[in-house]
């Protein structure tokens, strides 16, 4: 007993000593990577985290209507509030009118109560002209929206610094006035269908690149060396060409006066111009073209390592060509298929440029809506929330990729 114990302690001591001795080397290795890790944290991770915060940030009501929120603390939640609340609202809106912040508060509340923006602006104009109370009657005379308890519970709820509103909206959910979470009306559920469409297009593109790419990867392994080199060039060159150039090429090809229509007409395959651009077909074709090399390369690199003698052995043992392919060859290419397909699926989820230029309104993906909410609607919270949803889906599949394939397996050409 005591002998083994000493041995064990000796082994532990040795282990600890080795680890300690290795520590400076580990630190030195790590310190070389630290500048890049630090840079990425500042220039890449921080912006993404900032985006995540924007998705739950809720500053408007809190900063523009602080007195109203304080007055609402004693409100019962079911009836129209009393004079003190309206007096506080009038004071807040008077200041908001002076600082020109009323429209911000109105815009924020408008997300949850349609029509609220104009009501808040009108009320702020009225409040600016009021010298003394009572205020309650004046507000109620102006609009019945101020009588509804729902209006006040939304205002009170938005006194919180963080809001689930944008994230819920991004997955077609909403908070009921009582605080519970429910689905939005079916005709207003737009974001889950967009996410579904994004996943569908990414799936179709992944499937097509596999069907088109697998034989190419195979022929690359059986072709004589020089021909294989030329073919490899033809796979890698598109990968090297700017995504915008490739998309531009598809715009030109798919246009109604474009090359494909001209060819179809010349061959008398069609007498009228076919609508190709701004369609799902055009989007999927262009994306498949762009993603093909990403699927081909990992499959090729796995196929190259499969010994041709295995197939010969299978055949000599009596397997037919089909059976030898499906039972011996195809299963061994699976790691490459998984790597290539996951990579293409991940990258397809984030497409923006190609659907924007080649797709129609029904082909716009989550990314396109993020851009629209930032640039056109100036609804940063919702854009950020859609970004969170897209990021989570992408990271989930990246996690799968890391588990099945590994980050160190990514090669470039």
């Amino acid at each position: 007993m005591s002998v083994t114990e000493t041995v064990d302690i000796e082994r532990i001591r040795t282990f600890v000593a080795v680890r300690r001795a290795a520590r400076p080397a580990r630190r030195a290795a790590l310190s070389l990577a630290l500048p890049l890790v630090g840079f990425l944290i500042v220039a890449f991770i921080a912006p993404i985290l900032y985006l995540l915060v924007t998705a739950v940030d809720n500053p408007e009501t809190r900063s523009i209507l602080p007195r109203t929120l304080t007055a609402l603390e004693s409100w019962d939640g079911v009836s129209t509030p009393d004079e003190p609340v309206f007096a506080a609202l009038a004071a807040d809106l008077k200041l908001a009118k002076e600082d020109s912040t009323a429209s911000q508060a109105g815009k924020r509340l408008n997300y949850e109560i349609p029509g609220m923006r104009s009501k808040v602006l009108a009320a702020s104009r009225m409040a600016a002209g009021l010298e003394a109370g009572p205020y309650r009657e004046k507000f109620l005379d102006q609009s019945e929206i101020w009588a509804a308890p729902e209006t006040w519970s939304v205002i009170r709820r938005n006194g919180a610094g963080l809001t689930p509103y944008y994230l819920l909206t991004a997955v077609d959910l909403q908070q009921s006035p009582s605080g519970g979470i429910e689905g939005v009306a079916p005709d207003q559920a737009i974001f889950l269908p967009i996410l579904g469409r994004t996943l569908l297009v990414a799936g179709i593109v992944t499937g097509l690149t596999l069907i088109l790419g697998y034989p190419v990867a195979y022929v690359l392994t059986i072709a004589p060396r020089t021909i294989a080199a030329v073919m490899m060039l033809m796979v890698l060159l598109p990968l090297w060409t700017s995504l915008l150039v490739r998309t531009t090429a598809w715009v030109v090809l798919l246009q109604s006066d474009g090359v494909i229509n001209a060819v179809l007409m010349a061959l008398h395959l069609t007498t009228e111009k076919v609508q190709l651009i701004f369609t799902r077909f055009g989007t999927v074709t262009a994306m498949t073209h762009i993603q093909l090399p990403f699927t081909i390369l990992p499959i090729y690199s796995v196929m190259r390592s499969i010994q041709p003698t295995q197939l010969r052995a299978a055949r000599s043992l009596g397997a037919g060509p089909t059976s030898a392919f499906w039972r011996i060859y195809a299963p061994q290419t699976l790691p490459g298929v998984v790597a290539g397909c996951l990579m293409t699926f991940i990258l397809s989820l984030g497409y923006y440029i190609t659907p924007a230029l080649v797709g129609g309104p029904q082909d716009q993906m989550v990314s396109n809506f993020i851009s629209v909410y930032i640039n056109r609607d100036l609804n940063w919270g919702l854009a950020a929330a859609l970004g969170v949803v897209l990021l989570l889906v992408t990271l989930a599949i990246y996690g799968l990729f890391l588990r099945l394939v590994g980050a160190d397996k990514i090669k470039l050409g």
Partner: protein, 269 residues
Amino acid sequence: MWLPSYATPSERLSRILVVAFAVAVMLFLIAPLFIIVPLSFSKDPFFTLPVREYSLRWYEDLFGNPRWFEAMINSAVAAVLTTILATTLGTLAALGIARPDFPYRRAIMALLISPMIVPIVIVAVGSYLFFGEFGLTNTRAGLVLAHTALATPFVVITVTATLSTYDTNLTRAANSLGASGLSAFFRVTLPNILPGVISGAIFAFATSFDEVVVALFLTAAEQRTLPVQMFSGIRDQINPTIMAAATMLLILSILLFAALALLTRKKAR
């Protein structure tokens, strides 16, 4: 090569079909790229083939019009700065990762590769909002920072791949012969891994030079890059100057690709 000697006639047929299919896919891959070249030399302002009359008028516009020319200069400056930053940071990191006692390898690799994975719009919007807090939107510095983050994974991957074939005993020998750490790196390690470093630099340059989405969000008219200028052109009114710009980008890609191919061939020798 094409066929094993024991192939049956039906196998021959299916093999021919597979090769024919692969050739068709290759054409699908390559043909669209080169469709833009003849169109950029067309005299007509629309895109039909065959081209009726050739002219250089769209190239005159590309190089003569200050908007296009400035966009090219802006792209080149941003790409060069990105290349310098990304290559330095990426090579250093790869040197660490390649050491056998690098800790938390999987987690750190996953982080370093993630800029390739995260949807580009998320990077663009995040940078737009975050950099805005520091007044970095509509500046070249902001664009270069974001592009560098996007470009570093390529440098890390290429340099790590080269280092996997580098014999670390060479560094050790240099050290034992009295070279300091820095001197051993610059005189022994770097010359040996240079093809990988240059490959990474080429990738970094191409990443920045071709990038549209982040540039769309982070630049104003003054820093507008060539791809942004092209993108807004395609959206509003597609004109053949865009074809000329696309052809120039295509030629640049081919040149960079050829440089890379030469480098990797040398490495293999």
